[in-house]
């Protein structure tokens, strides 16, 4: 009888203390004369003890992700990336990884090369040298379309939304769905609505509003929704909270966190240390075109990260001199 397996493994293992119901509880889980495989969820008799975990396994597959385990293959793995513009060397021997289910914060001073690195990831600038691995396989990106085909979406600082179009049109711009020769408007609308509600966005009214009527935070949300609409695996957000008020920043940060909790790999560029510490699992610090450290957020302090950004070194972290 595999009824319990799907629903509540604990009820079976924990024996008498997990009384399935009421005072006349069965003596043990071994001999249940359940006619049809009763769904076994233990319900405590005492109301004050109620609302337990009933259905760990049925609840979702979050346990599948081992976000911080090193055994997980990074979605994105860059090694030895170099990039020059003419004689200006911008990136030097960059190593960078982004893991599924994690937010990796990319920090660095102005001109450290964050945006160039993002453009290399997004296929806008091909790197001059180095290895670009996506889900463990070496790939070459010739254009942003190649990146999108792999499941890489970049939300740029300027969002790149069309003010005169509505939310649905923006989400599907250039990748419209068709039904026969016409556009599948209802299908797109439905998917747009589902994506926005999947991001737990309740503040947006109709999905047929024009972008010009939306606030800064709402626009940022639409831009993020556009990135996750396509079953993407890696989402890169360039300064998503810049130019937003506190309440909207908080909302965007929570959306960023939710994306990672759904299993996507998220790369977040930010200047605000509170934002970085609030949502990231790893921090990658760039200093003058070099990756000086990629550390776990849980292991470092604010001071160390600031030192890495400003001087490229902090204690035994960072550049060796």
């Amino acid at each position: 009888m595999n009824a319990g397996d799907a629903w509540e493994p604990a009820a079976r293992a924990s024996g008498p203390q997990a009384l399935p119901y009421g005072p006349a509880a069965p003596s043990g889980p071994a001999d249940p004369p359940f006619p049809d495989g009763a769904a076994r969820v233990s319900r405590p008799a005492n109301a004050a003890d109620t609302l337990t975990a009933h259905d760990r396994s049925a609840r979702g597959d979050a346990a599948r992700w081992e976000p911080l385990g090193m055994a997980v293959t990074p979605v994105l793995d860059l090694r030895g990336i170099d990039k020059s513009f003419g004689s200006v060397k911008v990136l030097h021997d960059i190593a960078f990884s982004a893991y599924p289910g994690e937010v990796t914060a990319l920090v660095g001073d102005n001109g450290a090369g964050k945006t160039t690195l993002v453009k290399c990831i997004g296929g806008i600038h091909p790197p001059d040298a180095g290895e670009y691995r996506f889900e463990g396989r070496p790939v070459r990106l010739g254009s942003p379309r190649d990146a999108a085909a792999l499941g890489i979406e970049v939300v740029h600082q300027d969002l790149a939304l069309c003010e005169n179009l509505d939310i649905v049109q923006n989400l599907f711009l250039g990748r419209e769905r068709r039904r026969g020769i016409a556009l599948d408007e209802s299908g797109m609308e439905e998917l747009a609505r589902r994506t926005l509600s999947g991001l737990s966005v309740r503040t947006m009214g109709s999905v047929r509003q024009k972008i010009s009527t939306l606030s800064g935070g709402q626009r940022q949300t639409v831009a993020i929704a556009r990135a996750v609409l396509w079953d993407s695996k890696l989402v890169v957000l360039d300064e998503p909270a810049a130019a937003l008020g506190v309440a909207q920043t908080q909302q965007v940060l929570e959306i960023v966190r939710r994306l990672a909790d759904k299993g996507l790999a998220v790369v977040l560029i930010s200047h605000n240390m509170n934002d970085v510490f609030a949502v990231s699992d790893r921090i990658a610090a760039l200093y003058l075109g070099r990756m000086v450290a990629q550390v776990r957020t849980a292991d470092v302090t604010h001071r160390q990260v600031v030192e890495l950004i400003t001087s490229g070194v902090s204690g035994d972290l960072g550049l060796r001199r």
Partner: protein, 414 residues
């Protein structure tokens, strides 16, 4: 002597409750999904759903929208959200919320009121009753109220719902639950629970902690409350007073706490302390959450006094979290109420203290999150608590309540 195995009737009741709980928490599901998820065969599912349908708890309909596949579509079982509801009360120091929450966790309607910090317990009761009555009046004619629960910022004895201590909100020896139940006259008891404990339940059932069975919820209002979920259950302790994280002493000899001790977490990170550090304690038109949000907002715009205030509060909060992480090894720590704003505004400091203060092993995988239910954690928790009875024995509870209905003049005639 061996106890007898469960009777057919027990099993049926159990399965009914399980199915109802599934659609309540996870939303509408097709019979096929239910059969697969509950491990019951389709004819059993059909029998159960028809019982629940007859009782008016769920309804079945054809699936909506696109996604057509070959074959006869499996009927979708939906909770009867507008016809079966509970009353959820949230009593905060500054605000009161009453909501009518339908089966499936839908907030159908709500009333919010403000409460003056020095007002009388009887005013409190009067406001709650008035709010609840207006909600009940708006309900559909054949709707039935299946439970009620109230979240209170204080310690509450589990055995009799007696409020033992509310440092920021004194109700004297008023038995709030009994009094409310009597005044409402709906034939249902009103349970009283600690607000942060309810918040922990809510986040565990419907919020950020859905996949996590070991979590700690920290709730900031004027004070700081906590709820600890261990192995999927709320840790109440011997008498239900457990989880008072706000009164964990983090700074011996520190600031005076309303509980009489010094240096409690609540005294070091509570609203009054933050506002005092930020030089904003004196009368302002804003109170509670808005005042805290103002400080975070000011810090974000570069106000150094506000930044310093958040930094200090963040240090103590980080220390408190480090202690909790060491003692309980939670998978998740959730910040709700005003602590959500404080966490997002002082995360660098909180996590820095955690990184240096907690043991490596338990710290390594702990995730820090904000409450997914926003400002409604307590309210949602109260609703879930109120639904517990009907979910454990759907038909019996409903039959009893319908009988009360029939006996009363406002009989629904069903």
């Amino acid at each position: 002597m061996m106890k007898a195995g469960p009777s057919q009737e027990d099993i049926r009741r159990h399965n009914l409750g399980t199915l109802l709980r599934f659609v309540h928490l996870r939303g509408p599901a097709s019979r096929a999904t239910l059969a697969e998820s509950l491990g019951l065969n389709r004819s059993t599912i059909m029998a159960l759903t028809s019982d629940l349908t007859a009782a008016g708890l769920v309804r079945e309909e054809l699936p909506r929208g696109p996604g057509r596949r070959a074959g006869r579509p499996s009927l979708v079982v939906r909770p009867e959200s507008t016809r079966v509801y509970v009353l959820a009360f949230e009593v905060g120091v500054d605000r009161l919320v009453v909501a009518r929450v339908g089966l499936g966790g839908v907030i159908l309607d709500r009333r919010e009121g403000t409460r003056a910090r020095d007002s009388d317990p009887s005013d409190l009761l009067g406001m709650l009753v008035a709010g609840a009555r207006s909600l009940v009046r708006k309900a559909e004619r054949d709707a039935v109220c299946v439970g009620a629960a109230l979240g209170f910022p204080g310690t509450v004895r589990r055995s009799d719902d007696m409020i033992m201590f509310g440092p920021n909100l004194d109700v004297g020896d008023l038995r709030l639950g009994d009094a409310l139940s009597r005044r409402l006259g709906l034939g249902i008891p009103v349970s009283v629970c600690n607000d942060a404990n309810l918040g922990a339940l809510a986040e565990h059932e419907r919020g950020a902690g859905v996949n996590c069975d070991n979590l700690i919820y920290l709730h900031g209002d004027v004070g700081v409350g906590g709820g600890i979920i261990a192995h999927g259950r709320l840790l109440g302790g011997d008498e239900g007073f457990g989880g008072e994280i706000g009164h964990m002493i983090v700074n011996p000899g520190g600031r005076q706490c309303a509980c009489g001790s010094k240096g409690c977490l609540e005294a070091e990170v509570g609203e009054r302390t933050l506002l005092a550090h930020a030089g904003r304690e004196e009368p302002s038109d804003k109170a509670g959450r808005d005042a805290v949000r103002d400080v975070v907002d000011a810090a974000d715009r570069g106000d150094i006094v506000a930044r310093e205030a958040l930094h200090r509060v963040g240090t103590w909060l980080g220390l408190g979290v480090a202690n909790l992480v060491n003692v309980f090894n939670p998978g998740l720590v959730i910040f709700g109420g005003t602590l959500r704003d404080i966490y997002l505004g002082a995360a660098a400091q909180i996590r820095s203290v955690l990184a240096t203060g907690a043991l490596d092993a338990p710290r390594e995988k702990v995730r820090l999150r904000t409450a997914a239910l926003g400002d409604d954690t307590t309210l949602v928790g109260a609703a879930e608590f109120a639904f517990a009875e009907v979910l454990s024995d759907p038909l019996q509870v409903l039959a009893r309540l319908r009988n009360v209905d029939v006996a009363s003049p406002s009989a629904s005639g069903r």
